[in-house]
């Protein structure tokens, strides 16, 4: 861990301006991912801005009937919120499927969106990794890739996004509210928040330098049956091989996002449209452009079967 300067921000404005004046700054909230990366020298910020005291820890109703989740709301609190459990239970279920109780007590809504891949080559600083060291190459391609992405990949990177929460938010069409260093605010649909790796896998979101997430907005409830099905080798405390967040209406229509298959939460409009036709058609539409490796080809089948399980659960 490099020596770094640590300062605490007490307001959003202060945090944004501190970040604007320090190009090497990183925000730290729960630190459940960043501290690990710093210990391994994968992230080496010289300046940390602690945002745990800026507020933003409320879940409030919005004018259009949705919910505004403060950036600093802890995963535990979000999963337990009565309104979330009632109207957006796919989100609640996704949250409790992730990490452990201790981690969820620390992890924040914004931090969860920004967590980085768990690709083992990303974590081993002896190995080439375009995400860690742009231009050095991707070790996972042709290497141990059982857990890696099958769709939306590039020649530069086949890493997945590890979040469960983000998969549910993608299914719910959440919107990310931000404030930039100059004080301007904007709202980014979650579909446009994370990026595919392309030639620049080290750039993972469309946030600008110093741009600060203030909240995640959920649109008004859409009803339907909410299911989050996470598949993993062990029963708990593991990242998804594949996960499916689905909201299914009584008439069999609905929407679904897939985790564990891409560099971002994976959702395809054409696949949503095929949902009523069943898991096979919908899964094939979702993964039409998949380019799996030999080791992760099983995920194509697994997505179909996991979606099948989710649809069966929604019906039941």
């Amino acid at each position: 861990m490099k020596a770094f300067t640590y300062e605490r921000a007490t307001s959003v404005e202060q945090a944004a301006s501190m970040a604007a004046s320090n190009p090497d700054a990183r925000f730290i909230a729960g630190g459940t991912n960043l501290l690990d990366l710093m210990k391994l020298q994968i992230e080496t910020p010289l300046y940390l801005i602690d945002i745990n005291h800026v507020g933003l820890d409320k879940i409030e109703p919005t004018d259009d009937g949705g919910l505004r989740i403060g950036a600093m709301v802890r995963n535990t609190a979000l999963a337990a919120d009565e309104r979330v459990r009632r109207d957006y239970s796919v989100l609640s279920r996704a949250l409790v499927a992730g990490a452990s109780g201790q981690l969820r007590n620390k992890a924040t809504t914004a931090g969860n969106l920004l967590q980085r891949t768990r690709c083992p080559y990303f974590y081993d600083t002896n190995q080439p990794c375009n995400k860690r060291q742009p231009g050095s190459g991707c070790s996972a391609i042709g290497g141990f890739s059982r857990q890696h992405a099958v769709v939306g990949t590039s020649e530069a990177c086949i890493a997945t996004h590890p979040s469960d929460m983000a998969i549910a938010m993608r299914a719910l069409d959440a919107k990310v509210e931000t404030v930039k260093g100059d004080g301007t605010r904007r709202t980014i649909p979650i579909a446009d928040f994370h990026r595919l790796p392309g030639d620049t896998p080290h750039i993972e979101t469309n946030l600008e330098r110093g741009e600060f997430i203030t909240a995640v907005n959920l649109p008004a409830p859409i009803g339907g049956k909410h299911v989050y099905r996470k598949v993993r080798d062990r029963a708990s405390y593991a990242f998804a091989l594949v996960s499916v967040a689905a909201v299914v209406q009584p008439d069999g229509t609905g929407r679904f996002a897939i985790g564990g298959v891409a560099h971002k939460p994976w959702r395809v409009d054409a696949a949503d449209a095929r949902l009523k036709a069943g898991a096979r058609e919908a899964a094939r539409a979702a993964l039409a452009d998949a380019r799996p490796t030999e080791q992760n080809r099983y995920k194509l089948d697994l997505v179909e079967r996991t979606l099948g399980a989710a649809l069966a659960e929604a019906k039941g």
Partner: protein, 734 residues
């Protein structure tokens, strides 16, 4: 004391303390954080510094140069000690790979430097500044590819690499029902809770090392060799150990680095191996490819059984002895086993809990299940039919005790085995439910073990031996043994372990620790009893030690009075005669498992587990049960998730942390039950005990594989039994 004849009645048979369910005497220290583990020693002479180890970035080749200038200038850095600085060093005799010194790189993450600084963070930061220039060489990293070049090893852990009895080929060819299948087990990592850690402090030319070691004397000798000093100059302490599983049997790099670093800066230095370094820096259970052939008559009698195993290791290493149990477990007139060893340039393959039998039974006990199915027999009945009370390779040589069939019968009854249906016949919701069984087998190993016991004027009995407690309960069973021998309550016994100033014990490994170390304590207590009797003028053979007194006829003397103000000491050890040659000493068991497999996703979750063990006298049913359920848990990991994934291009284990290498979590482990058969084996030792710590792992994984088959109809032969290997064979659900 030489143990040459089967034990007769002795004071242990009273079983007033031994055999009782006594809670760990060190439990309070552990749960209150007072038991000091290696990294928690803070009080050596002088303020200590931190050393951070640096692992090689290549798997094979040489170091051309190390530029440590930037690291040396980093804040807080006291010294950078590199493998080039210390030069070529003699390797200790127990390791295959060298730990530190010289320019040659034998495997990935081999220690190449230690950066010493005032704080841990400073040392870690500076470690990243080292610039190391390598000359990389091509290596061999795939067992599958190296298999054809594997050779018959000279040494197979003290056993013959090949055995052959009768005419296996002919008998197999003419058998009415045959099986010929290939199985594989992956490289596995010990993944114990406590990482390897050492604190080294020099006083002149004498070294004190606090470390985490299963085998004090082995470490001491090998450390002396590597440092080039006399063994007598080293004091080594390891009183508490946070798990080992074989990963701490042999000297490790943290001890060597700490010793060199402390010498270099003239201050004590503390070094722990970071978790991501452990998989590739230390040892692991090597992967195997196994071929099993079984031939039987239609009525289920095995006429031919053959087991071949291929594994890899660094040059000079040993094979994983995966065929050992097949030499002893089942009857059959015509038999063969063979081990072949390929040279691989991965980290050193070596012992991990139940080496040989664990991976061997993972294959053999699936084969037995397959064979039972081919014969149309119940797998319990098939195993029982092929039981043998004699060593099947040496039919004149009996087992001392062998109650495999009793374990199978009792287990079947308790588990509700009769309710097991045909494959894929039972469902609950989305779960396909199945049951599996496997035999458990592990030999009883005997190592010499010594102890010193001292009874003082206050009536306190103090035991000193360099025996280790790796979480197994050694403290407690040793206290029980000493209390029983002297007729004292257990709270009058103090036990001190893991210190090289004490008599040399068997140490912890190979499930020999409990039986051997308590036998050494027994021997020392015999000496003490003799000394007490002599002092009182009693004939020691007739003296009775009971209720804190020593009695002869109607004369009774409180022990505290008997020893007087000076106290009395007894020191002795146990050595073993040839009873393990004339007789076969082994432990047996039966594992029963029920699993649910999700019919959509193929996820396997364990629902119930039962182990029935026949392992001689159980010294403490509480600590023994903990050993067995821990081993069963390890077997769940071995069956379902654990695999060191090899990058065959770059030559290393990729998933080298606890996020990537998945061991079971609480949610994976359901109800576990353990039953111990009533036994006392007079051939094993004066304690009449054997080991159970490894037996509990032997066969579990195969029982899970067999349960998955029963649940799904999918036969998996390649571990770990992950969903991607069976998905395409599961019922269509779309």
């Amino acid at each position: 004391m030489k143990f040459e004849k089967p034990a007769e009645m002795n004071p242990i048979d009273r079983m007033k303390v031994v055999g009782q369910p006594i809670r760990r005497i060190d439990g309070e220290l552990k749960v209150s954080g007072q038991a000091k583990y290696a990294y928690e020693w803070h009080d050596p002479a002088g303020r200590y510094a931190y050393g951070y180890p640096v692992g090689s970035a290549i798997a094979k080749g040489h170091i051309l140069a190390i530029d440590s200038e930037a690291a040396q200038r980093a804040p807080g850095v006291l010294k950078v000690v590199t493998t080039l600085d210390v030069g070529d060093r003699e390797k200790g005799k127990f390791n295959t790979a060298k730990l530190f010194g010289g320019s040659e790189i034998q495997h990935y993450h081999q220690a190449v430097a230690v950066v010493v600084a005032e704080t841990f963070e400073q040392a870690r930061d500076a470690a990243a500044l080292l610039k190391i220039e390598y000359a990389e060489e091509a290596g061999s990293f795939s067992l599958k590819e190296a298999k054809s070049s594997a050779v018959k090893p000279k040494d197979a852990g003290g056993s013959e690499p090949d055995t052959s009895v009768g005419d296996f080929t002919g008998a197999f060819r003419s058998a009415e029902v045959t099986l010929d299948e290939e199985y594989s087990t992956p490289d596995q990592s010990h993944s114990m809770m406590e990482p390897h850690a050492s604190l080294a402090a020099w006083d002149g030319d004498e070294l004190t090392l606090w470390t985490s070691s299963q085998m004090i004397d082995w470490w001491r000798g090998d450390l002396a060799t590597t440092l080039g000093i006399d063994k007598e100059k080293i004091t080594l302490m390891s009183p508490f150990i946070g798990g080992g599983f074989g990963g701490k049997l042999f000297l490790r790099a943290d001890a060597v680095l700490a010793a060199f670093a402390a010498k270099a800066i003239g201050r004590p230095v503390k070094v722990a191996l970071p978790r991501p370094l452990m998989a590739n820096n230390t040892t692991h259970r090597p992967a195997t490819i196994q071929r099993i052939r079984i031939g039987a008559s239609k009525d289920g009698k095995i006429s031919a059984i053959g087991h071949e195993s291929w594994s890899g290791d660094l040059a000079g290493g040993q094979p994983e002895a995966a065929v050992m149990q097949t030499r002893l477990l089942y009857a059959g007139k015509n038999r063969m086993t063979a081990m072949r060893l390929a040279t691989l340039n991965l980290a050193e393959g070596n012992a991990m809990r139940a080496p040989g039998e664990a991976p061997g039974l993972m294959a053999l006990e699936i084969a037995m299940d397959e064979m039972a199915e081919k014969l149309g027999m119940d797998p319990v009945a098939f195993r029982k039919l092929n039981d043998t009370q004699m060593d099947p390779e040496n039919p004149e040589r009996p087992f001392t005790q062998r109650n495999l069939n009793g374990c199978l019968d009792l287990g079947a009854e308790r588990f509700g085995w009769k309710n097991r249906g045909k494959p894929r016949s039972r469902t609950e919701g989305n779960m396909l439910i199945g049951m599996g069984v496997a035999a458990a087998f592990r030999n009883n190993l005997l190592l010499p073990s010594a102890a010193r016991v001292r009874l003082d004027q206050s009536g306190t009995l103090t035991v000193e031996t360099d025996m280790t407690d790796i979480g197994t309960g050694s403290y407690t069973i040793i206290a029980q043994t000493a209390a029983e021998m002297l007729g004292l309550p257990i709270n009058r016994v103090a036990v001190h372990l893991g210190d090289s100033r004490f008599p040399v014990s068997a140490g912890s490994g190979g499930q020999f620790g409990a039986n051997c170390s308590t036998s050494g304590v027994y021997a020392a207590c015999v000496k003490l009893r003799e000394a007490i009797a002599a002092k009182l003028g009693f004939n020691s053979a007739d003296a009775v030690f009971e209720d804190g007194q020593v009695r002869l006829g109607n004369r009774a003397v409180p022990l505290a009075d008997a020893v007087g103000t000076e106290g009395l000491t007894g020191e002795d050890g146990v050595e073993w005669g040839d009873l393990s040659e004339t007789h076969q000493q082994s432990t047996f068991g039966a594992h029963f498992v029920e699993v649910g497999v999700d019919r959509f996703t193929g996820e396997t979750r364990i629902r119930r587990m039962l182990a029935v063990c026949a392992a001689g006298r159980i010294l403490n049913p509480v600590t023994a049960r903990s050993q067995v359920i821990g081993a069963m848990t390890m077997g769940v990991g071995g069956a379902l998730t654990e695999e060191l994934a090899v990058d065959e291009r770059r030559g290393f284990f990729v998933n080298h942390d606890l996020a990537g290498y998945e061991v079971p979590v609480h949610a994976d482990i359901p109800h576990q039950e353990v039953i111990f058969m009533e036994e006392a084996d007079p051939y094993s030792s004066p304690m009449k005990a054997k080991g159970v710590g490894e037996l509990g792992l032997c066969g579990v994984s195969a029982a899970i594989a067999n349960a998955i088959y029963n649940a799904t109809g999918v036969r998996l032969r390649h571990y770990p039994l992950t969903l991607d290997k069976m998905l395409h064979q599961l019922p269509d659900v779309a």
